[in-house]
């Protein structure tokens, strides 16, 4: 029996091993697929399905336990710490790609064009950005401007941050209507963002000749925006779950870790986008 001042220790967890198995099958499948094996994509889908079932099951379990009042304040703090450190790890992951962008723009591309390397190996290469490198990788392309879709996307994401906070206020002030509306708007804006990004990619590939293969510019551009887009998707899905739970009447002003976690994640995704907008599109 869990009383309110005792730390809740679950026993026997089956979801972790299911999730591990799913993830492993999925990755092994992906690897096989990359190696050109025919079983690859099937394995990948199987693993992914197991993984999704695991997520559903595990989250349902957590939600039920939480609503049953089994988590005391201490448990809540552990979850919050967990989420914060998880976001920190994500920040480091993005830092790698921002670092790559910085390094290539400011160091390796100039070196490739300097009076030692450049004049010996790449006599006609100039130090400009964007570039697809001295080997003209991927052929001619047009760089992505900042003021079309990207600017729109910035506005979308920024306003979704506002609606998310507005929903939080609703939750704290026991205004469920505001909570649900705010969340719905956030999720909607999030998916709109993804749609715009898809449009942008389409344009890049079809009209501008800009692809992952367009040298270092294409590589950094798609890797950064791509991983960010993936995170927007994940964030929007998490928010959808939170929306669904709010609609079912979950969460109280005191106990709403899931909401907070989703909101933090969303703000993190937001901030990464600002970085992207400045360093990838504007500069």
């Amino acid at each position: 029996m869990s009383t309110n001042n005792e730390y809740y220790i679950p026993h026997k967890a089956t979801w972790p091993i299911v999730g591990t198995g799913g993830l492993m099958i999925m990755l092994a499948g992906f690897a096989n697929y990359l190696n050109g094996s025919s079983i690859g994509s099937g394995m990948m889908m199987l693993g992914l399905s197991i993984f999704i079932v695991m997520l559903g099951g595990w989250f349902t379990l957590q939600a039920t336990e939480s609503e049953a009042g089994m988590y005391n304040k201490g448990v809540g703090i552990s979850y919050r710490m967990g989420m914060m450190w998880f976001i920190f790890s994500e920040i480091m992951f993005f830092a790698v790609f921002f670092g790559t962008l910085w390094y290539t723009r400011n160091l390796s591309v100039p070196w490739l064009a300097d009076e030692i390397t450049g004049s010996t190996l790449w006599p006609n290469f100039e130090d400009v950005w964007p570039t697809n490198g001295p080997g003209n990788r991927g052929g001619d392309y047009e760089p992505m401007g900042a003021f079309g879709l990207p600017l729109l996307n910035t506005l979308l994401l920024l306003s979704s941050g506002v609606t998310c906070t507005w929903a939080h206020h609703g939750l704290l002030e026991k205004n469920r209507d505001q909570l649900i509306k705010g969340l719905a708007a956030t999720v909607g804006l999030g998916f709109l963002f993804v749609a715009c990004q898809a449009l942008e990619y389409h344009e890049a590939y079809v009209d501008m000749g800009l692809t992952l293969g367009s040298g270092i510019y294409g590589s950094t551009f798609f890797m950064l925006t791509g991983f960010h887009g993936l995170h927007v998707c994940i964030g929007a899905i998490i928010l959808s779950v939170v929306l669904f739970r709010s609609w079912k009447g979950h969460f109280t002003p005191e106990n709403h870790f899931a909401f907070e976690a989703a909101a933090w994640y969303w703000h993190f995704v937001d901030v990464v986008w600002l970085g992207l907008f400045i360093f990838v599109y504007l500069m």
Binding site: W111, L112, I116, T117, T120, L121, F125, N136
Partner: protein, 389 residues
């Protein structure tokens, strides 16, 4: 293995201190080398070594004193102190001072090593899997250098050749790099495929060769002699088998050598113009194959499943000769482009050889003169490419 047993006895003696290591070119310590840089490095190495020995003796001495005297079995009673700000400050500051003292000469030396200015000649070094390419930028001498044939035979799994019978086992090449003494030489390093690292301990530094980038380094050798080194960056399966040999010659000898090289290049060009017989091509082809191709495609042309395709029975080799020439000339993926690496005669020979060995029996041949004109096309095409960029 009798040899091994003897060796074991010898080792036991050595470990007991009864016998010292004899091999004349072997030391337990860093070698002093033959350049000012390598000597400065040696001095700095000895300085840090002695600093470490000194600190080690102090720390371990204290510790062992305490282990001996402050043991319970001797009835020592434990004291209960556990802090002393003064000593803690002291043992933070003293190491800091020592470190600063070491950093000063290190900084000076580093700056000196970095300065390639005022060099009198330049050599471009390109690392390949698994050989070195040398280009004298001032006089146009240009050649490849790879593991010598004897070592190459002996180093094969199951070769049954005792490496101890091979002269300079694994440290000998077919064609050494020759440099003049008392000349500041600038090296430009790059690589064709993967990372390598050019290292001759006697010269006192190593520098990584990076595909697509140039790294610089310099040397000035005062003493004529032969200096040996090895590739020092993992570069695939034969990383252990791409040695470097540098021969430093006094200036006049060096000039002679350059003349010889130029004559050799002329002779090679001329050789391409005459008609070659099938036999001639096959004999030459065999040696070229062993030195240039066998490291990947294996001596018997069987290749390595998964990485290097077999030559024996390859439809590419037994099919249209133009296709084979094309892939060997221009490379593909991990297969290097040999167009500019082999002379026209060598190239024609190796093509002929692959088509008529390992059970392949196409029966045709290609004349060096044909290859020569193809190579000429290649060069002009490359020039065009550069203009496009």
């Amino acid at each position: 293995m009798k040899k091994t047993k003897l060796q074991l006895v010898y080792l036991t003696l050595m470990m007991l201190g009864l016998k010292s290591v004899e091999a004349s070119d072997y030391t337990l310590n860093l070698m002093k080398g033959v350049t000012k840089t390598s000597n400065d490095i040696y001095d700095l190495h000895m300085l840090t070594l002695w600093v470490c020995v000194f600190i080690g003796v102090a720390v371990f001495g204290t510790m062992f004193y305490s282990i001996y005297h402050h043991r319970k079995s001797k009835g020592h009673k434990a004291e209960q102190f556990h802090e002393n700000t003064t000593v803690e400050i002291i043992w933070t500051i003293i190491p800091t001072i020592i470190l600063i003292a070491m950093a000063i000469p290190a900084t000076k030396l580093m700056i000196e090593m970095d300065d390639v200015s005022e060099s009198e000649m330049s050599i471009k070094v390109t690392g390949w899997q698994w050989k070195w390419e040398y280009e004298y930028l001032d006089n146009g001498v240009h050649f490849f250098s790879s593991l010598d044939e004897k070592s190459n035979q002996a180093r094969k799994l199951g070769s049954d050749i005792d490496p101890r019978t091979v002269d300079h086992y694994l440290l000998n090449v077919d064609k050494p790099l020759v440099i003049p003494t008392n000349t500041k030489i600038r090296f430009l390093f790059t690589a064709a495929d993967v990372l390598h690292s050019w290292w001759v301990p006697d010269l006192g530094w190593k520098t990584d060769t990076i595909p697509g980038f140039i790294n610089e380094a310099w040397t000035l050798v005062e003493k004529a002699g032969t200096y040996r080194g090895q590739c020092a960056e993992l570069c695939g399966k034969d990383h252990g088998f791409m040695p470097i040999v540098v021969i430093a010659m006094d200036k006049p000898d060096y000039e002679l050598w350059v003349k010889e090289q130029k004559a050799l290049a002329q002779a090679q060009l001329a050789a391409a113009d005459r008609e070659w017989t099938h036999e001639e091509l096959m004999t030459k082809g065999k040696s070229i194959y062993t030195s240039s191709c066998a490291s990947c495609h294996m001596d018997d042309g069987s290749g390595m499943t998964g990485t290097f395709p077999a030559i024996a029975g390859s439809s590419m080799v037994t099919g249209d000769i133009g296709n084979e020439i094309n892939i060997v000339m221009n490379g593909q993926g991990m297969m290097p482009a040999f167009g500019s690496m082999l002379s026209a005669a060598d190239f024609a020979a190796v093509i002929t050889y692959t088509r008529n060995s390992f059970g392949n029996a196409v029966g045709d041949l290609v004349q060096p003169s044909k290859i020569k004109s193809l190579q000429a096309e290649l060069v002009s095409a490359n020039d065009d490419d550069d203009d496009d960029d």
